[in-house]
Symmetry: C2
Subunit: 263 residues, 2 copies
């Protein structure tokens, strides 16, 4: 688990829980590990690691295969629950799939959490390229079209805090790396309701995204289409695709309005 600024300002923490979280991430990083390996890796006593693993195994968050411990499939269970808790989950899923089928490119939906962008859906169309992203994957907000679309709908204070906590790391030659550039870009996105990613996270990859707002005006997430620079050019890149993602965003917003009126 990352060690950025605390989401809850002051207060007390539970050290043992912190330790358990470290063990879980290590277990993931090492792709499964034994007690000694973990104890070395995390600089903890073997006995400590062992008692934590035993507790986690009791709670079925960890599985023991012989002498090796692994993160368990219970996380899949929790993951599916968390996804389903997002009220616009089904609608966004349907729209992402529709977009992928229609454009034959990669369509995705992202939400914000803890100052990062989290992919919720991904669907590859028939002609789509391979990308590394997957559901649950986290990316900095400043270097993707989806992330910038989300940032464009947040308050200036909120954006400032995120930039301060997460930084603006350079990914390619085109990545936005200064606050001024970012703020200008966000202003433009807010006006046009479309964000672009012109090889800002990966060379050869372009992307078009539109913010999805809640009936209240709050940002819900963003929907996008990604593809190779070779196919994302001219009028298609400047007008067609923006129109398509804006349309999809609109569909989701309308459905969300109906959802909130029903309750």
């Amino acid at each position: 688990m990352s060690e950025h600024g605390p989401s809850i300002p002051g207060g007390r923490r539970v050290k043992a829980v912190q330790t358990t979280c470290r063990i879980l991430t290590a277990l993931r990083d090492l792709d499964g590990a034994g007690v000694t390996e973990l104890s070395d890796h995390l600089d903890l006593a073997k006995a400590t690691v062992h008692s934590h693993l035993a507790t986690l195994a009791d709670n079925e968050l960890v599985v023991k295969h012989g002498d090796s411990y692994d993160v368990s499939l219970r996380f899949v269970d929790f993951g599916e629950y968390v996804k389903s808790r997002v009220d616009i989950y089904e609608i966004t899923k349907a729209e992402v799939e529709r977009l992928a089928d229609e454009t034959e490119e990669v369509a995705q939906f992202m939400v914000e959490e803890h100052g990062k962008g989290v992919y919720l859906h991904k669907k590859r169309g028939n002609n789509a390229i391979q990308t590394a992203s997957y559901a649950g994957n986290r990316k900095s907000l400043h270097c993707t079209a989806l992330g910038k679309a989300i940032l464009s709908q947040l308050s200036r204070d909120r954006v400032d805090r995120i930039v301060r906590d997460e930084g603006i790391q350079k990914r390619t030659e085109n990545t936005i790396t200064t606050r001024e550039e970012l703020y200008d870009e966000l202003d433009r996105i807010r006006e046009q309701q479309v964000a672009f990613d012109d090889e800002e996270i990966l060379s050869g990859l372009r992307c078009v995204a539109a913010p999805v707002r809640h009936p209240t005006g709050d940002i819900q997430g963003a929907i996008s289409i990604s593809g190779p620079t070779t196919r994302f050019t001219g009028e298609r890149f400047d007008e067609e695709l923006p129109e398509i993602v804006r349309g999809a965003a609109n569909v989701i917003e309308l459905n969300a309005t109906q959802l909130s009126e029903r309750s």
Copy 2:
């Protein structure tokens, strides 16, 4: 090698971790909750709950929305990782999708963990019924075709321990509820390499499953097709579908063999 016990017999546990796990499950059961609500629900001091939540939020396993706390999308991230760690993940996914498309019914793939069956894939064909299961969902092994297919490939000791730990709960009129019945059924499955579920978990639902073994002989999981009793009758239920699932299981086993030879 694949001799994993549900829990580690003796040893020490970390109470604070136990508490955190209780909080996480409560957060899920309550679909998000505040400090006081959790403290009442779990019979813990408010301060205790608060410090745990703060720690979990630092580690991004929990999100704070106003005064309410929720399980975070980080679980999706972990869930996807865990799924991808299953080496036959892609092959089984492809086969499940193929089966669903071909039969137009519900196709699923299940693995065993902690003495329970865990769904890994689910695909609904064009004509498929709605079922409550989802990826990560856990079910008792004795009352599903998938579960029985898996049990049929485990040692008698292992089955005994699972039955002892998990019980044989009655779900419908047809559920197997005695050890003798279960053992006889498992013998039959082992011989025919096909398991049936004739309304044993849900009235009106039938299911056909085949075990998927590892090159070494160990059980990897099971693949199935489910549908309504109305469509699962006669020769289709007795011969066609068994042939289809056995074929799919075979495809996976062959691919797994190639995988293990490559490394």
